[in-house]
């Protein structure tokens, strides 16, 4: 698992406020450009003062090095001594640096297909299995960062995601962000995770439709066809109707929608009926994803109420996919390992876990299907996974 956030020792702090900076290893970067860049220096590298002059910041991943041991840097501003965990940093990444607190966040990585931008930790739900537990703080700075970020991210980036918390907390500013993203990353597909409730306002859905983003999809969870059960899982009364209403409005205004169902003890009893409900009432949605549990955030607190070994529900999962497929709905299984699901659904099982939190068990080294398997969440490896993991024979 990659550490995307951390704290560093900072020498010669001088940035007035937290900054988004592009990461580069090129000591020969033209001087006129350097004020927008952070220079990445490997720990064993001796940088000359001329090479490091003019950069907004210097980043040195490596453990316990005092700045005087790096002679060329004694006059450099904003030298961040990062832990070993940050050795993944590479050319083209983008970091957020706070020289006052020493906080470092990697907000964009060039070498991954999974870049996700957190817009807020505020949310009007309290899902039993939330992997990003809500915080009631004004974190609008995250939104401001996002506006800046989409203007810095390379235009050949295939995909980015916007997550939270609940992104529509920002109302019209969220729509503006999508518009800005369209203008600055016209060839980048965008996935947004949202509970969709704000779109019960048809004018709000219309606003998003009018942006006419060329490749936008909203991932909206519906956890049960039983409104009581859905409301219970998200811990919010009235959620089911508003989410449903939001989905209808979004489709009326030409926005792509993916319905997400997370499978656990509470949603499993009506998983097939939920898929039938989607097939009968929401046949016009663009995709349906049945998802495995990430063992982080609230999931750990509620594990006893939630955990069920995927191997135990493999037939129900097959039946649910069978319903979706029979009705011609595009569908996927996310976050499951191939050895836990039946053969008949292997073709819809995606490698869906973001690379920075994607791991395998030692047992998987001898598995013939390891290359095509999505593997585990790091949190599954660490805390809870199926007892039925068995490698396929070579």
């Amino acid at each position: 698992m990659l550490k995307l956030r951390g704290k560093a020792q900072v020498h010669n702090a001088s940035l007035e406020m937290p900054r988004l900076l592009r990461v580069t290893s090129r000591e020969d970067l033209p001087t006129s450009m350097r004020s927008k860049y952070a220079l990445l220096i490997p720990i064993d590298h001796h940088a000359s003062s001329a090479a490091s002059e003019g950069f907004a910041s210097i980043l040195v991943p490596g453990a316990g090095v005092a700045v005087d041991e790096l002679p060329g840097l004694s006059n450099s501003k904003n030298v961040f001594l990062l832990s070993e965990d940050f050795q993944y940093l590479a050319e083209g990444d983008i970091v957020r640096l706070n020289p006052e607190s020493g906080n470092v966040s990697t907000v964009f990585r060039k070498n991954t297909p999974n870049n996700s931008i957190l817009l807020t930790e505020r949310c009007n739900h309290l899902c039993l299995m939330c992997s990003q537990p809500p915080k009631d703080v004004d974190d609008t700075w995250l939104l401001e960062d996002a506006f800046a970020l989409v203007r810095m991210i390379p235009t050949d980036t295939p995909n980015i995601g916007f997550t939270g918390g609940e992104p529509t907390t920002y109302g019209n500013r969220f729509i503006e962000l999508i518009e800005t993203t369209k203008r600055n990353l016209p060839r980048t597909s965008v996935d947004v995770l949202t509970n969709g409730r704000a779109f019960k306002s048809e004018s709000y859905a219309a606003k998003l439709g009018r942006v006419k983003h060329p490749d936008l999809q909203l991932g909206i969870p519906i956890y049960s066809d039983d409104p009581v059960r859905h409301d219970f899982i998200v811990q919010s009364e009235g959620a089911f109707d508003e989410t449903l209403h939001g989905v209808l409005n979004l489709k009326r205004h030409g926005v792509r929608v993916e319905i997400r169902v997370v499978i656990h003890q509470q949603s499993l009893p009506r998983l097939v009926q939920t898929c039938e409900f989607i097939a009968r009432n929401l046949l016009f949605v663009d995709h349906v994803a049945l998802m495995g549990l990430e063992i982080t955030g609230f999931t750990r607190a509620n594990l006893e109420q939630l955990w069920v070994d995927p191997y135990e529900y493999r037939d129900t999962l097959s039946e649910a996919i069978e319903v979706l497929r029979a009705y011609g709905l595009s569908c996927s299984i996310y976050n499951h390992q191939l050895c836990l699901i039946n053969d008949d659904v292997h073709d819809v099982c995606r490698q869906s876990i973001s690379d920075w939190k994607n791991e395998f068990l030692p047992a998987c080294d001898s598995c013939a299907k390891m290359r095509s398997c999505g593997g585990f969440f790091s949190s599954q490896v660490a805390f809870k996974h199926s007892e039925h993991i068995v490698p396929y024979a070579m």
Binding site: G171, N172, K200, E202, S203, R252
Partner: protein
């Protein structure tokens, strides 16, 4: 089956004779079926009157251009 309405239109008498099975069981069975049918028709009447309003609403909106639920306006941010 012979059906007679009383002169003041308050009572309907029904005389039923089965065409085939003239046994007592057959007659009881037939009577039960008739009673059930009458109860079912009463129920249909009741359902119809109870749901007429929402049925007309649904059908009129099915064939109109606008949606059914009035759009709720939310402020710029939640």
């Amino acid at each position: 089956m012979a059906i007679e309405e009383s002169s003041d239109a308050t009572t309907i008498s029904v005389n039923v004779s089965p065409l085939v099975d003239k046994s007592p069981e057959g007659l009881v069975h037939l009577e039960r079926r008739l009673r059930n049918e009458v109860l079912d028709q009463q129920l249909r009447e009741q359902i119809r009157s109870q749901t007429e309003g929402v049925r007309n609403l649904i059908l009129s909106h099915a064939f109109s251009k606008t949606g059914l639920i009035a759009s709720a306006e939310t402020p710029a941010s939640l």
